[in-house]
């Protein structure tokens, strides 16, 4: 087990380094001069040269990378010429919002999805099964932004029950926060619920076919005991691995949801910096989100190893 964790830690570090290389190379994929591309070609030559030097672009490529990485490790994330703030300020102010929405909707997806998955697997072939399965399929096929548009139309504009934009953290104003987060969280978790429901269902059906379920049945156990005592535990182990993926997708979805609901989070920052060629902010946000995902993946893998005695006892 300890060996396994050390191994995974090592791998995570390697992956983070590769991600940093990807994020670093983004700015070098920009056609032409990145400083002119960011600040416009009409800026004075001296200003250009100064920015060029601050960003370290006048150094050799390899040195640039280590200069950039070194700065990030020191906490210096660079300066955003669009937001006119340090990138650290831009990002850190908004990260809690995105994390909050991402985690809440991930938790939502996991709980509801697993619940539906078990129900449909247990009642395989029933009406409940077909209805939930159809809904799950639609949930996966539905564009998030479109669902958001519909919810806004119905609950925001027609019924006027919920605010259509803005975000407040729950510890600042719980009631407003709840009202503001309902629609974004629904939009962000629909796909996740559907995916978990489908995967849990198929995992359960796979487990139910196993020899040890036949053994449990031959012992004379009640069907409910067979399902909840023997099958569910086994079925959920592979589901665990999906959690990292869901979180990653929630972060991706935050770009859309935060734009639509005008929530000031990391996703919105990314869309804004893309539209305004603020590559520094873009690079950093990308790196940050990927790092968070990586660390979540690491935690999930450790949980996975712990949940499965076959790995834990190795």
């Amino acid at each position: 087990m300890a060996k396994y964790i050390i191994n995974r830690l090592f791998q995570t570090v390697v992956i983070l380094l590769i991600i940093s290389v990807i994020a670093f190379s983004l700015i070098h994929l920009v056609p032409g001069d990145p400083v002119y591309a960011m600040l416009g070609s009409e800026i004075p030559k001296e200003y250009h040269d100064q920015v060029y030097h601050t960003m370290g672009l006048d150094r050799p490529l390899v040195e640039q990378y280590f200069f950039w990485l070194g700065n990030i490790l020191k906490g210096d994330l660079g300066y955003s010429y669009y937001f006119r703030q340090t990138v650290a300020e831009v990002v850190m102010n908004r990260l809690p919002t995105t994390l909050y929405l991402g985690i809440v909707s991930a938790v939502f997806s996991v709980i509801l999805g697993i619940f539906f998955g078990i129900v449909t697997a247990v009642r395989r072939g029933s009406k409940t099964d077909s209805v939930i399965t159809v809904l799950a399929n639609i949930g996966i096929a539905m564009p998030t932004f479109w669902l958001a548009v519909i919810l806004i139309l119905i609950f925001g504009l027609k019924l006027k029950w919920l605010p259509v934009h803005g975000f407040t953290l729950p510890w600042e104003n719980p009631v407003l926060s709840l009202r503001q987060t309902i629609m974004p969280v629904i939009c962000m978790s629909v796909g996740g619920v559907a995916i978990y429901a489908r995967q849990t269902r198929s995992s359960m059906l796979e487990v139910i076919r196993q020899d040890y379920i036949r053994t449990a049945r031959s012992k004379g156990l009640k069907e409910s005991k067979i399902i909840y005592g023997h099958a569910v535990k086994n079925a959920l182990i592979p589901i665990l691995t999906l959690i990292g993926l869901t979180l990653r997708n929630s972060f991706g979805g935050s770009a859309i949801i935060e734009t639509i609901f005008n929530i000031s989070g990391l996703g919105q920052v990314m869309v804004m910096s893309l539209n305004n060629r603020d590559y520094t902010t873009l690079q950093t946000s990308l790196l940050l989100l990927a790092a968070v995902t990586c660390i979540c993946n690491l935690l999930v893998d450790i949980a996975y190893a712990y949940a499965d005695p076959r790995i834990r006892l190795e």
Binding site: Y212, S218, K219, G220, R310, L313
Partner: protein, 669 residues
């Protein structure tokens, strides 16, 4: 009401599949009394498991359906209970328990063995958790697992296959059932472990007066352990009787066929196995007549009539579902003439192994530092003469498959030399192995995994012809492929079919044809029949023997079943944990085995004759084959050897010659 503990009357089980209605169990009647051991034997698909699963309503419904009959257990017809009713659940595990075939998958991997045993105890005996725990520890002791207090918190993955099967038995006995069903419970285990488990079962049921139903494909097991036997074929019970009656006064042509098709440890070698031709009927297309008539050598006009032959009763227990009595059958057709094989064994060595070593490194940690070697083959030396068959036996982990793959140079050789046709091939690089690849061929165990599912049968067989450019024209190529098909008894018209359209036996024929296509002189057969049904095994053995005589082949025949190896081989090598422990001419091995391991192995294998079985003196050994990682020092067999002393623990005995080419590696001979 019934005077028996369990009586099944006229059970019919159907499976409604896409292909049609499969009559898996077709009017089967049987009974078992208290404390009795009975056997149900049959090949795969004969309905032997489905019969007992139906009684406990454990078959999947739908597509399964119990279409008729009753099962009287303690005065109640348990077939009338609903699948999910509490009555049937009380019978399952409470009155009737089961032990299944696959010990590796039959226990829940995420629960401790304690939890799994206690669960049964609490359910059926109504014990509290604490008392259930005590009982579980007691049960573990009963099945020979010491130190139950700590082992009870282990997960199944921490036990070996044999141990897991013991745990399954503990679980099945948890509620003190009246009947214990062992459904192929020892099939997946090593020969010596199999014997231990069966002996354990026999002791336990004797002690507790539980009835035991052994379901198996292995006639010999039944001969050793069962008091009464039911023989099933295609869903019907074709013969029933006491063990003595079934094996000594065999009445049904199918039972006769089976007995003639299996090699026996004590039989004369010149006996040619009599294969049962053809395949069992498709259960979806079964008619009302005798299911065996198409394959029956005695079949008459009457057999093709559309009605089942009635049981002819020979004694209160013995009956056979055949139109004819055994004496009438004998008149109908004499036994097939036994052909005598002629093969030439030269004194020229085709292959010689000198101190061959194959170690697999074990790595640890992030830096993948090598910490140890798993010694899969340790100083293996023997030679094979041109034209002979050398048998190689041993249990799991003995290195038999590793040896095959090392000779084939699928693995690199760690040390020693492999001299093939006078040339050391152990260090040749892959590009210079081409002509060795042509000369040395391989027949795999699994007829399903060894054929590429996406290639046609013809191109599988012809692959080596192309690879070695053995045909100059397309016509020559297709003529050669056709010849190979005919040589293994397949119709060349099947060339365009893909493997999954063939039966197991036919696939193994394809595999043989494919191995022969490069016209090799030396063929390694790795358990070529162990995945096949008994009646098909004899067909393949006979084919291999015929091909050897016709083509002058040399075989290295690898198997775990000593009786098969003895039947086909001229000399036999016995391996244990990567070392050769004994080399013997075939006829001396059974008469006077030298190594204690060989003795144990021999006595673990039952002979399909209850009378011979009763007279045998058997050597039993303790424990299981250890994992290669914990390989014992000194003589690898010493921890299980009854004669081991200090010297055996310290140093490894070398192979010494005891005359007539009979060698053994033991200090105590």
């Amino acid at each position: 009401m019934s005077e028996h503990l369990l009586e099944i009357r006229h059970l019919k089980t159907l499976f409604r599949m896409r292909e049609g209605v499969m009559r898996a169990v077709d009017d089967a009647s049987l009974y078992v009394d208290e404390g009795e051991i009975i056997g149900i034997v049959g090949e795969s698909g004969s309905g032997k498991s489905v019969t007992m699963m139906s009684v406990l309503k454990l078959i999947e419904m739908p597509p399964g359906e119990i279409a008729g009959g009753e099962a009287i257990f303690q005065g109640e017809n348990i077939l009338s209970y609903d699948t999910k009713s509490s009555e049937i659940r009380k019978v399952r595990g409470g009155g009737i328990s089961m032990v299944f075939q696959e010990p590796m998958t039959s226990l829940n991997p995420v629960l401790t063995v304690g939890q799994q045993i206690e669960e049964s105890v609490m359910l059926h005996l109504g014990y509290s958790r604490a008392r259930a725990r005590e009982r579980a520890i007691e049960l573990l002791r009963l099945v020979g697992i010491p130190d139950g207090e700590s082992r009870i918190n282990y997960y199944p993955t921490q036990f070996s296959g044999g141990m897991r099967q013991r745990i399954m038995i503990a679980m099945a006995m948890a509620s003190s059932p009246k009947i214990l069903i062992a459904d192929e419970a020892t099939t997946a285990l090593d020969v010596t472990t199999q014997e231990q488990i069966l002996e354990l079962l026999r002791e336990i049921v004797k002690k507790t007066n539980t009835a035991l139903i052994i379901i198996t494909h292995n006639l010999s097991i039944v001969a050793r352990y069962a008091q009464r036997v039911y023989v099933m074929y295609a869903g019907n019970i074709v013969e029933r009787g006491t063990s003595e009656e079934i094996f000594r006064e065999t009445s049904h042509p199918y039972t006769m066929g089976l007995l003639k098709a299996i090699p026996r440890l004590d039989s004369d070698k010149s006996r040619r196995l009599v294969a049962i031709d053809g395949l069992p009927p498709n259960p979806a297309k079964k008619s009302g007549r005798c299911p065996f008539w198409e394959r029956c050598p005695f079949a008459a006009e009457k057999c093709s009539e559309d009605s089942m032959p009635p049981y002819i009763e020979y004694s209160p227990a013995h009956a056979s579902a055949c139109w004819f009595r055994p004496e009438e059958l004998k008149n109908r057709r004499p036994d097939a003439a036994e052909s005598v094989l002629t093969k030439r064994i030269s004194s020229e060595k085709i292959l010689e192994l000198k101190n061959v070593k194959k170690y697999f490194p074990v790595f640890k940690g992030v830096t993948r530092r090598k910490i140890a070697d798993v010694k899969a083959l340790d100083d293996v030396s023997f030679e094979i003469y041109r034209g002979e068959t050398l048998g190689l036996v041993g249990e799991s982990g003995c290195g038999k498959t590793t040896l095959a793959k090392t000779i084939l140079r699928l693995y690199d050789v760690t040390g020693g030399s492999i001299i093939f046709n006078g040339r050391d091939i152990s260090k040749l690089p892959e590009r210079r192995l081409k002509d060795v690849r042509r000369e040395v061929q391989f027949i795999f165990q699994d007829p399903f995994g060894s054929l590429d599912p996406r290639q046609s049968a013809g191109s599988i067989v012809g692959e080596a012809i192309k690879a070695h450019r053995l045909a100059k024209t397309p016509e020559e190529y297709s003529r050669k492929v056709d010849e190979l098909f005919m040589a293994v008894g397949l119709d060349p018209a099947l060339k365009n079919r893909v493997p999954h359209e063939f039966s197991g036996g036919q696939r193994q024929r394809l595999s043989i044809a494919s191995a022969l296509s490069s016209e090799p002189s030396f063929v390694i057969c790795d358990e070529p029949i162990s995945a096949l049904d008994v009646s098909i095994q004899a067909q393949i053995i006979n084919l291999l023997i015929d091909l050897q005589a016709k083509r002058g082949l040399t075989y290295l025949f690898i198997a775990h079943d000593l009786s098969v190896v003895r039947h086909i081989s001229d000399r036999i090598v016995v391996m244990y944990l990567g070392r050769v422990v004994e080399i013997s001419p075939w006829n001396e091995l059974y008469e006077k085995p030298l190594h204690p391991y060989t003795k144990a192995l021999l006595s673990a294998i039952p002979i399909p004759d209850p009378i011979v079985e009763k007279e045998r003196v058997r050597t039993r050994i303790e424990g299981e084959v250890p994992s290669l990682i914990n390989r014992p020092d000194g003589c690898v067999f010493h921890p299980r050897c009854p004669h081991a002393d200090e010297r055996c623990r310290r140093s490894a005995p070398p192979l010494s010659d005891y005359g007539n080419g009979h060698q053994a590696a033991c200090f105590k001979v």
